[in-house]
Amino acid sequence: EPEVTQTPSHQVTQMGQEVILRCVPISNHLYFYWYRQILGQKVEFLVSFYNNEISEKSEIFDDQFSVERPDGSNFTLKIRSTKLEDSAMYFCASKTAGSWTGELFFGEGSRLTVL
């Protein structure tokens, strides 16, 4: 069964360092998302991406964040200068063009720990 894959599964970084989280969405999907979950809290929307541009971004997705689909298969989230409060589980998700049910397919997540 096709799935969304994310790397790395866990990254530890120093505050102020740049981090890139990578995702390979399901191959025929056209819409891509990043969500995050701070430990014990809800899953929060960060950004949606379609047709090579951002559709919408949340207040969390400030100038330190960026997304890219560099090669038609990968979908990356970059945090330029990490802060302690960026520590969270980051989930990539994707969906097809013709999904009526609203279902997003999520990856297993990348845990980011900022020290």
């Binding site: 809290q41 809800k42 047709n51 609203g102 999520f106």
Partner: protein, 115 residues
């Protein structure tokens, strides 16, 4: 601004009995509602959804009820099984300007099914 609320952080149920998980929302423009299940260290997985024009959708042991006038939905699991123990997230679909959409999640309810 919590548009999707799950007021019960946890629920404990005996195996074989019914589990009822509740969710409230504030935005009447949501057109689809979904339930996701999440195990530790995994991404959310889609469970069941309901269109805003329906009041019930059933899939095996899982039934979702929607009460639009009360802006309330619930997930019923019957009979509950120990393998159902997980965190359950309610999510609502919000359309975006480019006809894509994003999901807005509640804070989750941790279900424990006791053998």
């Amino acid at each position: 601004d919590q548009q999707v609320k799950q007021n019960s952080p946890s629920l404990s149920v005996q195996e074989g009995r019914i589990s009822i998980l509740n969710c409230d929302y504030t935005n009447s423009m949501f057109d689809y509602f979904l339930w996701y299940k999440k195990y530790p260290a995994e991404g959310p997985t889609f469970l069941i959804s309901i269109s805003s024009i329906k009041d019930k959708n059933e899939d095996g042991r899982f039934t979702v009820f929607l009460n639009k006038s009360a802006k309330h939905l619930s997930l019923h699991i019957v009979p509950s099984q120990p393998g159902d123990s997980a965190v359950y997230f309610c999510a609502a679909r919000e359309m975006l300007m480019d006809s894509s959409y994003k999901l807005i999640f509640g804070s989750g309810t941790r279900l424990l099914v006791r053998p």
